[in-house]
């Protein structure tokens, strides 16, 4: 038996669904759209399948959610509907009920929030409500779990009895005039047949619902005849048919509520009102907003999220770790000592080599060894003699197992396992360097993402998310974004992957897509090493390079918003901002955890494969190549990746960095942006490079001019994000077409911005490349045109007007 769960957003539907199904639920997407679809089986009766419809206010044909609900109810004909309504807001909640009743599907009305109603002292006459609507009514508290047994009992009952007596109609009657018109319509449309959902179709035909007309496939004569009647009636009452029906529904509800709902005399300001007075207060709202955002960022990016993610990345998937941290400090100390010894030994050996003597004969040699810290600052100068050298070269690398309970990393374990199994080298490497690294790349994001989703679910659950949209709408709608786009962009400064996933909270599809495309322009933390490399090597480490990077990110978001808003793809009516500001309340922890878990798992399922696959491909390209025939190469410079880099490097010549090294570095940045620095290190034959890459600054200055370096940075900031973020984009777009559009757009924007920047820079420096400068000029004019041209709708209007004037 299949039961549909329907109700308004914020009516407690999710809580009810979770209570009814427990963990027997499955989350997916409705076919073809990114709207979440949840189905589950009743805890106590596994034969009962519950389908959670999207939260909707109406069954009108205007939003994706409404359309999903409509077509599900009409096409799948569930055996019964549980309609949950918020008892503290009966009027608006019953509006959907009046529409559901038209379908003549057995329905049980669950009046939620009995606990809140009790507290306020209001009274609902359930019997009255039940007789007036002629459906069973139950008072429940989804939060406390009361009334749920009675609800399931009644649902089973109506679903079974209704099957036997299908003739009975339960819809509410409009005023007599409207009913007469509806009868006329039925006569024309159905003649003497009695189709399923007759009442529903009657009303929809009256409302001139195009989709339903198509559904019925009425011939044109009938449509015209019906239209005539409607127009006649519309002229009579001076209202359009949709408005007539809506007003009638609310009139009926008004009478109903008057009869059955008794408001308590105590007129008190509710707690929610008191909170709202402060939270959206004209003066306090913005500071409070900043504080809330700070906490979200702090929890998911600065602290818990990053700690856990780093733990997964650095310990579980890289080096291994000490249980409870026991012995770590002693180990780290020894490791540092060992590294110093290593440096001394190396320096001494280099000196010996240069002197051209045997190491046994170097007893009188004295060497000055410079010790640097992680950022490349000189820390100490040590004078090493032969004895010091011998001591240093005798130093043994410390074994972590000797310092405490050591847990090796997963790659190490698999490495050992494969060695024992004696598998062939290529398979061994594929598993450890390709697959395990790829899996690590996916799993590494999970803790952080879970923490973020927890914060978001809390914000949504308590009612603050709607206020964020309320507060920020004014700024963001100018760029075609939603007020809720603030969160993805903010989270994006930490990591684009959770940032993109945070776009989930934006209901409007167009706003959501726009947000997903632009979120990755904001420099994420993995881009910081790249910024540090360029700033350090070419701009004396000046702080403003970092600031400028963020500024460029914001500019890219704004111009993209304006340009894309005016394209045909994003054209159409501006999404209305008529949104409910729900009462504040404490969300149930169980629901919050469940939603966070589901959303995190979704990322693994939808984005995981793309991340894994691309990591393996890039690993392969970097590890294999031609070195005495095709095979595993020791030197990256001989890899397929290097070949590709040299092959396509010319593409970047107009941007100032046409060599193969920056090309290869950019490609490897697709795995993770911080890889750009490491790859440069490898390409300049420097192993174990520091985070800001100070060891290769000299080499880079030979290959790049400062302008070219800045152009390289600009390109890498804006161009396609890492594979994990691309996977997240794929997940949120739920369409290959939109994903490729996003990536191509990002690369195109990065390319044009860098080209304009570099060529104009050359022009200002007085060494213009004529062709380049002309192309840059054309691109710049193109940008300005795209920014200031009228929107798509206005262009259409103009076209039709000019066509009209020709006639």
């Amino acid at each position: 038996m299949r039961i549909a769960l329907a109700g308004n957003p914020n009516s407690g539907k999710t809580t009810l669904f979770n209570s009814l199904t427990g963990s027997n639920q499955y989350v997916g997407n409705w076919p073809g759209v990114t709207v979440e679809q949840k189905t589950g089986h009743l805890r106590k009766n596994k034969h009962l399948k519950i389908i959670d419809l999207p939260g909707i206010y109406s069954l009108s044909p205007y939003t994706t959610e409404e359309e999903i609900a409509r077509s599900f109810l009409l096409d799948e004909k569930p055996d019964a509907i549980i309609n949950i309504v918020d008892g503290t807001n009966l009027e608006r909640n019953l509006y959907l009920t009046t529409q559901l009743l038209d379908l003549n599907i057995p329905l049980v009305l669950a009046v939620n929030m009995s606990d809140v109603i009790e507290k306020t002292g209001d009274k609902i006459d359930l019997e009255k409500l039940s007789t007036e609507l002629s459906v069973p009514v139950v008072l429940i508290s989804a939060l406390k779990g009361s009334g749920l047994e009675k609800l399931t009992e009644l649902t089973m009952e109506v679903a079974q009895t209704k099957k036997q007596t299908e003739s009975e109609q339960t819809f509410l009657k409009f005023n007599q005039d409207v009913e007469n018109v509806l009868d006329h319509i039925a006569k024309i449309a159905f003649e003497d047949t009695k189709p399923d959902f007759q009442r529903w179709y009657q009303v929809k035909l009256f409302e001139r619902d195009q989709e339903m007309r198509d559904h019925l496939a009425l011939d044109t004569n009938k449509v015209e005849a019906i239209d005539e009647i409607i127009t006649l009636y519309e002229d009579l009452v001076d209202e359009d048919s949709e408005s007539i029906i809506t007003s009638e529904r609310y009139r009926i509800i008004n009478n109903l509520v008057k009869k059955s709902y008794e408001k308590s005399r105590k007129v008190k300001l509710s707690t929610s009102d008191k909170i709202d007075r402060i939270v959206t207060n004209r003066i306090l709202a913005l500071p409070i907003f900043v504080v809330v955002m700070f906490f979200v960022y702090f929890l998911s990016i600065s602290t818990i999220g990053t700690w856990t993610t780093d733990f997964v990345n650095e310990n579980i998937f890289d080096e291994g770790w000490f249980l409870f941290g026991k012995g770590r400090s002693a180990y780290t100390e020894k490791v540092e000592e060992y590294e110093v010894s290593e440096t001394i030994a190396e320096a001494f050996e280099t000196e010996i080599e240069q002197a051209g003597i045997k190491s046994e004969d170097a007893t009188n040699l004295k060497v000055e060894v410079n010790l640097y810290d992680e950022e490349g600052n000189l820390e100490e100068v040590v004078n090493a003699d032969y004895q010091a050298y011998q001591e240093a070269s005798a130093a043994v690398e410390p074994e972590p197992g000797e310092f405490g309970p050591w847990i090796p990393s997963i790659p190490d374990l698999i490495d050992q396992g494969l060695t024992k199994l004696n598998v062939s080298t290529w398979l061994h490497e594929l598993v450890v360097d390709g697959i395990v690294a790829g899996v690590g790349a996916v799993l590494g994001f999970l803790p952080q993402m879970f923490v973020l989703f927890l914060c978001l679910a809390l914000l949504e659950g308590c009612g603050y998310m709607a206020r964020i949209a309320f507060i920020m709408d004014r700024i963001f709608r100018k760029f075609g974004l939603s007020g809720k786009s603030f969160i993805p962009l903010m989270i994006g400064t930490g990591c684009s992957v959770p940032g993109i996933m945070a776009a989930r909270t934006i209901e409007n599809e167009r706003d959501r897509r726009m947000t997903v495309i632009t979120t990755t322009f904001i420099p994420c933390s993995a881009k910081l090493p790249v910024i540090a490399l360029i700033a350090g090597a070419f701009f004396g480490g000046k702080w403003w390079i970092g600031a400028a990077s963020y500024f460029i990110g914001i500019i890219a978001v704004i111009i993209s918003g304006i340009i894309l808003k005016k394209t045909k793809m994003f054209a159409g009516d501006v999404a209305p901002f008529v949104i409910e500001l729900p009462s504040y309340h404490f969300p149930r922890m169980r629901d919050i955890l469940r939603s966070s878990k589901n959303r995190t798992w979704e990322f693994v399922k939808r984005a995981g494969s793309i991340v894994l696959l691309s990591t393996i491909v890039i690993w392969f390209l970097g590890a294999y190549g031609f070195e005495n025939g095709f095979g595993r190469v020791d030197d990256v410079n001989n890899s397929i990746l290097a070949v590709i880099g040299s092959g396509i490097g010319w593409i970047f010549t107009p941007l100032g960095f046409g060599g193969w090294r920056p090309t290869v570095a950019t490609i490897s940045g697709l795995i993770a942006k911080e890889n750009v620095v490491g790859t440069f290190g490898v390409l300049y034959n420097f192993e174990g490079i520091a985070e800001n890459g100070w060891q290769i600054w000299q080499n880079m200055r030979l290959d790049f001019t400062a302008l070219a370096a800045a152009s390289f940075l600009l390109f890498n900031l804006i161009c396609a994000p890492c594979f994990a973020a691309i996977g997240a984009i794929r997940r949120e777009m739920a369409s290959a077409k939109w994903t490729s559009f996003a990536i191509i757009y990002q690369i195109g924007l990065a390319y044009s911005m860098s080209l304009i920047f570099y060529q104009l820079g050359m022009l200002i420096q007085g060494k213009p490349d004529i062709v380049g400068a002309v192309v840059a000029g054309i691109l710049l004019i193109g940008f300005i045109y795209l920014l200031f041209r009228p929107g798509y709708d206005k262009r259409l209007l103009k076209k039709s007007k000019s066509a009209y004037s020709k006639i």
């Binding site: 949709e242 709202a285 009462s583």
Partner: protein, 81 residues
């Protein structure tokens, strides 16, 4: 749109914060009009303008006992008395 023909029309946009108005008519057509009416702003209903957003737009109103937010531009199709 009918609204631009008559500048003297009083719309929800003209109602100051803290005051109540009765809805007379919803102008326009399509999604916006339908959505506004679906949310309960129908002829004869009472609207209280509660507050402005910190940046001046949108506004918050009380309709049928709950809180709703809408942009000022959207208020312009709601004629009140």
């Amino acid at each position: 749109m009918a609204i631009s023909d008559n500048k003297n029309l009083r719309t929800l946009r003209d109602i100051p914060v803290g005051q109540t108005a009765i809805v007379k008519r919803i102008h326009g057509s399509g999604q916006l009009k339908r959505h506004i009416m679906d949310m309960g702003i129908t002829k004869g209903s009472e609207v209280l303008v509660r507050k402005l957003a910190p940046l001046g737009d949108p506004i918050e109103i009380t309709i049928r006992g709950y809180q709703l937010s809408l942009r000022k531009s959207e208020c312009e199709i709601i004629e009140v008395e």
